[in-house]
Symmetry: C2
Subunit: 337 residues, 2 copies
């Protein structure tokens, strides 16, 4: 029953393991008494025969109206001649910044125990322009597009994020020694914004060097802001440092205050429907959505319960070396709430 | 004095610490009785007032004639309106493949102790085309160019390398889910070549996933082949796993059998001229040059001496946490030969 005290949020469970991990989020939210009412939409790689579309107009409208949502994994077919659903959502909703907090999980050991950084990725242009063509037989080209508008917008978001989240430094990642015009424009915009935030330290790091420094000593970094493809690469690298994409939250910020949180791991068709999936990334993404809504109490309670459950180690899913099912792991989280 | 039994090789000491580490290579080669006569050329960022060029025609001709050479670091000025010398050399000499072996050094501890992989990077095109322009104010674009010819050439080199070096697998790294035409063509060429080498396993890995897997478990990889920018990024990431660019060799392969080995670290102007630089990367690069010349005995002796000196730990330069000078470290290597 509709309740006017409830915040409506869109939910795209997605493909593969998506529905199971979305179920886990719904359960945890119920137990934590989160005042959210889900508006669930089917978006996935199976074409709706009526619309011939992977993505209905209603699903997009739902996010635009609610301004807040959560999405599970959506499979990206390689070379099948249609564009990734993830990309379509980013473009259609103008999700200009992809924010991925990445921190070492207490009690879950990797080679690194001091990771605490945020990657902020420009999410609409760059190498993802979709503009490619064959010049002559055997010669193809892709266009990387960098605009002043999108660069300023994501830089502004990064500095504002740093300031409001008690972060000290923003590093702009680039390859302007090679792409002087495109990455050069990106850096120019970052510098302009940096001047408005004298309390935040600003530095520029070449992407190859950045990757080397990240694997040697990730504690050197704080907030990183970068063009689309570098963000794709570096956010995955960072996820690897703390255990993988199954553990890292992500949130997309769009024009007009839209926030679409998402698990960025794959849809894992091999284990779909078997109650084996790890819902952590989707749960922690849902937490970023709650923070966006300023529901920090609920966010803290859920985040603590997830981290505690992982730290205790009694209930862990297969990807973390455990034997737990999705539902037992979820129940353990609920018990901690 | 010229000696017809000697092989002539070009030497570009380069900028900053270049001359010191080149001196170290010359000394080690003398002690190891390597039958090489160096043809030294000044190539660097200080313009020769007569030629107004960073790079003389004679230096290029020297490599073309000798077909083998060694280069130290050359500074790349950012945004000064001229192209990097490293890039100019690659284009002028058509150095189509950049080969970087990367292995854990015995006795030099990092978080990883089982790295043993080879990155092979297409070195002439891709994002390094140099084609960029402003479309309208605030909108710039760069062209990424992929050709069938260059892709086949580097793929062929990678598979041939794998076969002749007892390697089992070649992984092609790409982002063809986004750049379906450019990276798609690159993959198509790799697949064509893979069919000619049924004894070598072949796989395709998306670059973001590759970076995540590399930091989680580098032992998953063997030989990696990829377009230019991905090679730039991944080779530095890999270097980070084993301690940094001061330790990893590199060799550029060009049309007509040219091999130009190079240290890919920076010119470190802050410590230049102070006898503090680590010559390891240039020495191990010189070793790859010797292997290219089939001087495996000499290559083995020098490589063993370098690794032993580092493993013993008595003489290590500052970058490796030691206090040794360049000359003491070099002397220790010579003593092991
Ligand atoms: C699935 C793919 C299209 C996507 C991307 O490249 O952006 C993914 O890697 C991500 O990071 O969300
Ligand atoms: C210095 C720079 C132009 C160069 C590159 O980007 O190729 C360097 O990073 C390298 O890997 O040799």
């Amino acid at each position: 029953a509709a309740n006017s005290d409830l915040i409506r949020a869109t939910l795209f469970p997605g493909d593969g393991i998506g529905p199971e991990i979305a179920e886990s989020v719904k359960q945890v939210f119920r137990v934590a008494d989160v005042p959210i009412e889900w508006e669930e939409h089917f978006v996935g790689t199976e074409v709706d025969p009526r619309t011939q579309s992977f993505l209905t107009w209603e699903s997009l409208e739902s996010v635009r109206r609610n301004k807040v949502g959560l999405k599970g994994p959506m499979a990206t077919p390689i070379g099948k001649g249609h564009r990734s659903l993830n990309l379509t959502l980013r473009k259609e909703l103008n999700l200009y910044a992809n924010v991925r907090p990445c921190y070492s999980l207490p009690g879950y050991k990797t080679k690194y125990d001091d990771v605490d950084l945020i990657t902020i990725r420009e999410n609409t242009e760059g190498e993802y322009s979709g503009l490619e063509h064959q010049v002559v037989r055997g010669v193809v080209e892709s266009l990387k597009i960098i605009t002043r508008q999108a660069s300023l917008r994501v830089a502004e978001y990064a500095f504002h994020y740093a300031k409001t989240h008690g972060r000290e430094r923003v590093s702009a990642i680039h390859k302007a020694n090679i792409m002087q015009k495109t990455d050069g424009l990106f850096l120019k915009c970052c510098r302009e914004v940096a001047e408005k935030y004298p309390e935040i330290k600003y530095e520029e790091v070449v992407i190859d060097n950045c990757c080397m420094m990240l694997v040697k000593n990730p504690a050197l970094f704080d907030v990183l802001v970068m063009p689309n493809l570098y963000g794709d690469i570096i956010s995955d690298l960072c996820a690897g440092l703390i255990g993988g994409l199954g553990l890292t939250p992500s949130c997309n910020i769009g024009e007009g205050g839209i926030a679409l949180a998402e698990a960025v791991h794959g849809s894992a068709p091999d284990i779909a429907g078997q109650n084996l999936a790890n819902p952590t990334a989707l749960l922690l993404s849902a937490v970023t959505m709650l923070r966006h809504l300023d529901l920090h109490d609920k966010a803290d309670r859920i985040q603590d319960a997830v981290l505690k459950t992982i730290a205790e180690g009694k209930y862990r899913t297969g990807d973390l070396g455990g034997k737990s099912t999705t539902s037992d792991f979820t129940q353990a989280i609920c018990d901690h709430i």
